[in-house]
């Protein structure tokens, strides 16, 4: 049976053959460091995740041109979990135990991350997770290079309060854990800022919701109560296109009711005519339109690698970039790919980000990021209207009942992801 499953060489030859054939040729398996790539290449999430797979391959290619890591070339092992959550766990196990990779870059949805967590803990490996998420998690084996809610949602709300004088809020989201948690946090935050319960409307829709007529009309109605109103959208994926189309056709302009989105980036806008949407906002830690040398070089290299100079870049790509470079730097510093050593070395590692600053990995395994607010332009890009100083990712939100007393610090001697400062105990993780 083991012979049947031993097909690593074939995987590599097929997926990476064209790509790395020349560089790999002279190396036997022992002379390379293996890097796992765990992104869906088929199914519903392929639309977002394929780009990240290509990003990792691009970064590996660049690193190998610079001579690899620790004198060895990097070798990508790509698998396809096919947007199937149990399959994520299975493929993670395959990468770690069969292919013996040193690190894995992967996952997009929260559920895929939750699915692979037990595997990474059991087999003690490292996962870099590059997407903005709901927080409420800090695991020793995971590094979260996307935004926590305080690195995206709260600054966006602050901006709307200050710049637009918004007093009434619609929190619209897809019914899954990221919007639920983000909206819970925002609700508590807004109430703490003195917004009345009547001035907050919360609405949830299913995945891929396509008929937005009633909801957009409700938003319009809610917005005609004499107070400046804004929509905070955590609507996910495919549902955004019909949502924005309906906004445009019902004539809701950004000057009247601005919509700030946390899941709409350059890739999503590529599928919409943005002319009627000019002025609606998005909050991210990176925009393709950032004017910095690092960004220009990254975009240029990306276009050459992917052989298409129309391909956009987006926030999760920057998060992958930061995670990858941090891992390379930590491995170089530690002189080994040993999981425990690298995890310890990673904390405190600082690498440049693409917006002209630096990202540092904090003891809670989240990173520092500046928060950028962008307005949609008619060319599908964002015009950056606000940029904050770097913010530290807050894994356990201060605005949620259950988590306000928790902190995370993976440095010794605490070494705990959910330490309760009131009871003085590390939560029951066995």
């Amino acid at each position: 049976m083991s012979q049947i499953f031993d097909r690593r060489r074939m995987t590599l030859a097929a997926v990476l053959g064209a790509l790395l054939a020349s560089t790999m040729a002279g190396y036997a398996a022992d002379d390379t460091i293996k890097v796992g790539v765990l992104h869906s290449l088929s199914g519903t999430m392929a639309i977002s995740e394929t780009t990240l797979k290509d990003t990792v391959l691009y970064l590996i290619d660049e690193q190998n041109k610079k001579g690899g890591v620790l004198g060895k070339k990097l070798e990508a092992v790509v698998v396809d979990p096919a947007s199937n959550w149990p399959l994520f766990a299975e493929k993670a196990r395959e990468l770690i135990s069969q292919d013996k990779v040193s690190v894995v870059f992967g996952c997009w949805t929260s559920v895929s991350r939750k699915s692979v967590l037990p595997v990474f803990k059991e087999l003690n490996s490292i996962l870099f997770y590059p997407v903005q998420y709901e927080g409420e998690e800090s695991e020793r084996n995971v590094f979260y290079t996307g935004a926590a809610p305080n690195q995206q949602a709260i600054p966006a709300v602050d901006y709307l309060m200050k710049e637009e004088g918004v007093q009434r809020w619609v929190l619209a989201g897809t019914d899954y854990v990221y919007p639920r948690t983000t909206n819970k946090i925002l609700e508590a935050y807004l109430k703490a800022k003195g917004v009345a319960a009547d001035d907050i409307m919360i609405n949830y829709t299913p995945f891929g919701h396509s008929d937005w007529q009633s909801i957009v009309a409700d938003i319009k109605k809610f917005g005609s109560a004499g107070k400046k109103t804004a929509v905070v959208s955590t609507i996910n994926g495919d549902a955004n296109v019909p949502f924005y189309k309906e906004l445009a056709s019902q004539g809701i302009k950004a000057e009247d009711i601005p919509v700030v989105a946390f899941s709409v980036g350059e890739e999503e806008l590529a599928g919409i005519d943005t002319k009627p949407l000019v002025g609606h906002l998005a909050a991210w830690n990176y925009f393709e339109s950032i004017d910095s040398e690092a960004n220009a070089a990254f975009i240029d290299g990306w276009h050459k690698f992917i052989k298409n100079d129309k391909r956009t870049t987006n926030d999760p790509m920057e998060a992958t970039y930061i995670g990858f470079n941090a891992w390379v730097k930590a491995v170089e510093a530690a002189g080994t790919t040993n999981t425990d050593t690298v995890i310890d070395t990673l904390v405190g590692t600082t690498v440049p980000n693409l917006s002209g600053g630096y990202a540092t990995i904090m003891p809670n395994h989240h990173i520092t990021k500046p928060v950028l607010i962008g307005e949609i332009q008619d060319n599908g890009q964002f015009d950056i209207v606000s940029k904050t100083a770097p913010v530290v990712g807050d894994e356990w939100s201060d605005y949620l009942e259950g988590s306000k007393d928790l902190i995370s610090d993976w440095r010794k001697p605490l070494s705990c992801g959910n330490f309760n400062v009131v009871t003085g105990k590390c939560g029951g993780n066995s």
Binding site: S42, E94, S97, S115, E122, Y176, K184, G402, S403, G427
Partner: protein
């Protein structure tokens, strides 16, 4: 008594399957636990859980075949029963975490804590007890199937109509379980299990035991299915499949037969789901996706419907292909799966087993027609 009755019901081929499954239940865990790594006979944990998953899929396929191959009811919603069984098991495993969740809440699962739930909903009560949870694994899919079947068979919803409303059933459940307000963890589902029956779920011994349980449960399911189809009841089922109205006119209460086999099949699917969850470590609403149920149907079709071995072969073969393709040529997988659907329905109406029989019977005598593709389909049109 019962055992000897059940074993007697097996034909030669059936005995081989059961013996093979029992041997598998012993050898594979032994290969994982006892044979040292590096030996040619070592079975890695990865392979062990993978094979365990295939076995639960095989049990699901067997349950689909029981209603489709032997009674002509094409269910496009069997994934729903599989997932319901899985959720019952998942709820038990969630309760077993106890205070070891990240928020250290002794009662509430983590997802309830951060969504500010204050107390455990009523339908989560009792799932901390294994016997209750295991009872629910059987009861929940069973009762829903009974209710659904009683309504549908009584009002003589048949053929295509039945297929489409089974699809509506699983779709409605999919939407329902996605809702966070339902209290089943929404899209993230149930995950991060710690232990089962007091044993840590990630320990090699537990994994091996779960594998063995899956193999033995599949063997049991096989024996039961075989007893059903080879009894007089089974003959009536085939009669219903081939000519429902005629069977009714002869005087059989068609609804009762259908309801029995439908409910039995749902229970088997539920048990398969319950064994699936601890091995893959997560249950989430996507198991309710109508396309998952349709995929289960194709396993049966590939293996050969109307035979009991067919679904086993089909489930393992298709899923092995999936594992292999999604590793080697991810882009090709959907083409391959799509082509499989087309090719099997067009050229292999009796699947791999049918093909095998034909090859064998070329040398011996022609096989009797056990494929009911003609008549029951005509009735539905």
């Amino acid at each position: 008594m019962i055992i000897s009755f059940l074993v007697d019901s097996l034909d030669r081929r059936g005995r081989i399957v059961v013996i093979l499954l029992v041997v598998l239940a012993l050898l594979v865990p032994a290969g994982n636990l006892l044979v040292p790594e590096g030996s040619a006979f070592h079975v890695s944990t990865y392979q062990l859980t993978l094979c365990g998953k295939y076995l639960t899929y095989a049990l699901l396929a067997l349950s689909v075949d029981l209603v489709w191959g032997y009674c002509g009811i094409l269910s496009l919603g069997h994934g729903a029963f599989f997932a319901l069984g899985g959720y019952a098991m998942g709820m038990y495993l969630m309760r077993q975490i106890g205070a070891r969740g990240v928020y250290a809440d002794p009662m509430l699962p983590d997802f309830m804590v951060f969504l500010n739930w204050k107390e455990l909903p009523w339908f989560w009560q009792g799932f901390d007890m294994a016997w209750y949870a295991f009872l629910m694994v059987v009861l929940v899919p069973g009762v829903i199937a009974l209710l659904f079947g009683w309504l549908s068979f009584r009002s003589r919803v048949t053929g295509v109509y039945l297929s489409i409303i089974t699809q509506a059933l699983t779709y409605a459940l999919l939407l329902a379980f996605f809702r966070n307000d339902m209290g089943f963890g929404g899209n993230n589902g149930l995950t991060d299990f710690k232990d089962i029956l007091g044993f840590p779920i990630q320990a090699p011994g537990t994994r091996a035991a779960l594998f063995a349980a899956s193999a033995l449960m599949l063997a049991l399911g096989f024996v039961v299915a075989s007893a059903v189809v080879r009894s007089k009841l089974g003959k009536v089922l085939v009669a219903i499949r081939d000519a429902e109205s005629r069977t009714r006119f002869i005087g059989y209460r068609v609804e009762h037969y259908k309801l029995f086999v439908w409910t039995l099949s749902a229970v088997m699917a539920g048990v398969a789901g319950a064994l699936y969850v601890p091995q893959v470590g997560i249950i989430n609403p996507s198991e309710f996706d109508p396309s998952a149920s349709i995929e289960a149907v194709i396993w049966v079709a590939v293996g050969g419907r109307g035979t009991l071995i067919g679904p086993l072969i089909g489930a393992v073969a298709v899923n092995f292909g999936k594992t292999w393709f999604t590793g080697v040529l991810p882009e090709i997988w959907l083409y391959a799966l799509g082509a499989l659907f087309v090719v099997v329905t067009l050229f292999l109406p009796r699947g791999i087993v049918g093909l095998w029989d034909r090859v064998v019977s070329r040398r011996a005598k022609p096989a009797p027609d056990v494929d009911g593709s003609g008549r029951q389909a005509g009735e539905a049109a």
